[in-house]
Symmetry: C2
Subunit: 213 residues, 2 copies
């Protein structure tokens, strides 16, 4: 049996139930740890599932912030320093990654509280997570205010990228399963994946075929 | 061994290699079929992996369009009619879903070419995909131009939602694995998932625990 929810039914839901429901609807999500430092060098780490691809040239990623976010430290650090990192989450660290969503005081480092290790390299201002297999260093390029619900979209350019060599395929594709990257759904559910296939570039009168290596 | 790519190394890559690489970097992505009709009632269907959650109240989803998109029909139909659908992709239909990315002429319906079935209900202008287990009906609310690379973000409000009852958990969470929803990575790789756990709401001095039902 399929259940239908109208606008009115969604609006009438208990708040926390609606938050769980609507956060589940897009499907499985990109999830990563966002690392920042304030101008004094205090490190901050927070988990985000509102990360998405915006373009390949220049290489741009988007990140959505809620209006009065618990993750305000991350937002302020990015606005003040211009730099942040995305760090993929693996099965080995997903509980620690989830723990970073607790509302720690500003002077508390989520790195210390969770046992995740900050890693600095190439003179980049923001910390990477040493346990992450794939790490991105971003430089803030554009801030977009979304009027309808007072959220903010920050767009960053990838200026550093670290990927295990054995995950890099010849055509540029990265084998995220080999990197142990996981995905999430809703607010609190974590999943590993099993590849079904890679498919050829689709053309109008040609059946797609497997290009899995 | 970890490979480091600088901005310069990314910029110097062959175009298609860079597109594969950068599209892989965010992690696993939400992927869905977007259904539209033009004002004359011609149906269009296209796969998108640039879908993300923007807010729960009102329930809002974002969708990124490239500057000169092959998916121009989808964009025009949304701008002209104001309505569109998101339809989750399952293991049973992922090859047909991928095939919708072929550059069909405007008068060709991807539904007919792929064997996916259009479904109309509740007087909604845009077609759902009958084979999809989770279906969303959206109404366009905001168009945001992203200056840095001429992409466009369309924000829609979920005004209809169809979910199998057995996938709905008591707290509002939707069990996407029960709905057979899949995820994607890069441009062409499809994956099913295996849940690791659901974790409790994180608090500063409390270890997270499993809330998997």
């Amino acid at each position: 049996m399929v259940k239908h929810f109208s606008s009115e039914a969604i609006a009438a839901m208990e708040k926390q139930t609606r938050v769980h429901l609507i956060n589940s609807l897009g499907g499985f999500k990109s999830v990563a740890l966002v690392g920042t430092s304030d101008p004094e060098g205090n490190n901050n780490l927070a988990i985000f599932s509102s990360i998405f691809h915006i373009g390949a040239n220049p290489p741009l990623m988007g990140l959505i912030f809620r209006p009065t976010p618990p993750e305000r430290n991350t937002f302020n650090n990015i606005m003040e320093t211009g730099y942040y990192t995305f760090n993929h989450i693996t099965e080995a660290i997903f509980k620690q990654a989830h723990q970073t969503s607790a509302r720690y005081d500003k002077e508390v480092s989520e790195f210390e509280k969770t046992g995740l290790q900050p890693e600095f390299k190439e003179g980049f201002h923001a910390p990477y997570v040493a346990q992450s297999t794939i790490q991105l260093g971003l430089s803030l390029r554009e801030k977009v205010d979304i009027a309808i619900n007072n959220t903010t979209l920050l767009i960053g350019e990838i200026i550093h990228l670290y990927v295990p060599e054995n995950c890099l395929c010849e055509d540029g594709f990265i084998d995220l399963e080999k990197a142990n990257t996981i995905t999430c759904s809703g607010l609190d559910s974590y999943h590993k994946t099993v590849q079904l296939d890679r498919l050829s570039y689709a053309k109008p009168d040609l059946a797609v075929r497997s290009i899995k290596s």
